[in-house]
Subunit: 244 residues, 2 copies
C-alpha cells in the first residue's frame, strides 16, 4: 500500500477521484456492522437498496423462501419487513443460505458514491482486522465515512481511525491525508475513553440509546470479532474470498 | 453559551444555518494568525480581498501612505506588494495606524461564507484565550475551519479543538456536535505530540516547511500570546473592543 486517504463524508471526495482506488465504506451504526454479521451468519448475498420501495420491488422479483427483507427507517424495523437493523437478529437460522434485501440510507448512498472505484469493501469495528489484512494488497485506498443524515459522525470517524492506526503500524512510509491522521487520533482517544461510551454519545449512537438499542452498540463495539470482509460488486454484497 | 458547533470546512454548513450565530473563522496557517499580529501591532483595520486584483484595486482607491498591501499566493509574497503573509513582518513600524489591504484565499472565502451570521470573529492559536473569553457571552457559536485548497486541514481542526476544549471546561451542559468532540480530541493529541511538530506535518504546514518558513509555524504556535480578537464587519476587520 502506498496511499491512504480518509473522507469524513462521501461528498467530500469527487467520484472521479476514486478511479483506480480500493474504497472502504463505513456506516458502523449500524449498516456495515449488520451486513458483516449477516454474511458471517451465512447469508448468500446482500442487495442494498436506497429506498424502501426499491427493497419491496426487489423482493417481489425473488422466489419466496429464498430471501429475507431487512432494514430500518428512523432506527426502527419497517412495516412488513422480516428483520430490522440489529446485528443480533441476523442468525444462521434466519438468513443462512438466503439473499438479504436490505435498505439503509447513509451506507447505501456511500456505496453508490464509490461506483467508480476498482473495489468496494465494507468495514465496521467488528471486522477491522480482516479488512486491514485485505487492504495490504492494494496500492491506493480511500476510506469513506457514511456519516449520519449528511453530517460527520464520530462513530464512523473513529472506526476509520482504527483501520488507519493498524495500517500505519504495518506499512512503512505510508502516505496519508490529514483526515486519516485526525481519525487515528480520534480512535486512540476513543479507546482511552472506552469504545462503547464513545459510540453511545456519537451522532449515530444517541438515536440508538433513545430507542433502547444499547445492545446494538455493544455488538458494534466488539472489535475484530468477525473474520469477514464484505465486498460490493454488481449491486450485490458478498463475502470476499481471500487470495490463496 | 448553549450550543457550539464546529465545521471542518465552511462548505459543510449552509450559510442560512449561520443566521443568529456568532461565527469564528480559523485559517491558522497563516491568515488569521497574521491578521491577529497585524492588529496587535496597531494596524487600524484589515480589508480582506479574495483576489490579487481586488487587493490592487482597493489599494488604488486609498491615499498613499495610509495603507500597506499584504498577502500571498502559493505561500509567497505577491509582486509589488509591501508584505507577505509572515506574522513577524507585521511590525508596529510598518503597519501601525495604517489600513492593511490583505489577500488570502481560504480565510477570505470562509469569512464571506459566514456573511449571514450575527457576528464574525477570527481565531488562531495565538489568541485562543481572548477569543474564548469573548465567546462566553454568545448563545450560539459556529466555528468554521477554512481548510487548505478545499480540503480539511489538521492545523485548523486542532485550533478549533483548543477553543472547544476551553469552552467545555468553562460552560456546564454545553451542547456540541461530533465535529467539536473530534476537534477537541485532536487538540489534546496535538499537545501530547508537540504543537509545532503537529503543525509542521499538517496540510497547511507542509507547504510552509518546503518554503523554509519554519519561523511562521513557530510564531503561529505561540498559544494565547496575543490579547486581540479580530472582528469582521462591513467588509473590514478591526479589533473587537471588550464590553465593559
Amino acid at each position: 500500500m502506498e496511499s491512504l486517504q480518509v473522507h469524513f463524508l462521501s461528498r467530500l471526495v469527487e467520484p472521479a477521484a476514486l478511479r483506480g482506488s480500493t474504497c472502504v465504506i463505513i456506516d458502523v451504526l449500524r449498516a456495515t456492522t449488520t451486513i458483516a454479521f449477516a454474511l458471517e451468519a451465512g447469508a448468500k448475498e446482500v442487495i442494498p437498496c436506497l429506498e424502501v420501495d426499491d427493497a419491496r420491488r426487489c423482493a417481489a422479483s425473488l422466489n419466496a423462501g429464498t430471501f429475507m427483507l431487512g432494514g430500518e427507517r428512523g432506527g426502527k424495523k419497517i412495516d412488513g419487513f422480516d428483520l430490522g437493523n440489529s446485528p443480533d437478529e441476523y442468525t444462521p437460522q434466519l438468513v443462512g443460505g438466503k439473499t438479504l434485501v436490505f435498505t439503509t440510507t447513509n451506507g447505501t448512498r456511500a456505496m453508490l458514491h464509490a461506483g467508480e472505484a476498482d473495489t468496494i469493501l465494507l468495514a465496521a469495528l467488528v471486522n477491522v482486522e480482516a479488512v486491514t489484512r485485505a487492504l495490504l494488497r492494494h496500492a491506493k485506498v480511500d476510506i469513506l465515512c457514511a456519516g449520519t443524515d449528511g453530517e460527520i459522525s464520530r462513530d464512523d470517524v473513529l472506526t476509520a481511525g482504527a483501520i488507519v492506526d493498524q495500517l500505519l503500524g504495518a506499512v512503512e512510509g505510508l502516505k496519508v491525508n490529514d483526515e486519516a491522521e485526525i481519525a487515528a487520533d480520534e480512535w486512540r482517544a476513543a479507546t482511552a475513553y472506552g469504545l462503547v461510551e464513545c459510540l453511545r454519545v456519537s451522532r449515530g449512537g444517541r438515536n440508538l440509546v433513545e430507542l433502547g438499542l444499547d445492545n446494538d452498540i455493544r455488538a458494534a463495539a466488539e472489535l475484530s470479532r468477525l473474520d469477514v470482509v464484505p465486498i460490493f460488486k454488481n449491486s450485490r454484497i458478498t463475502r470476499l474470498v481471500a487470495a490463496s
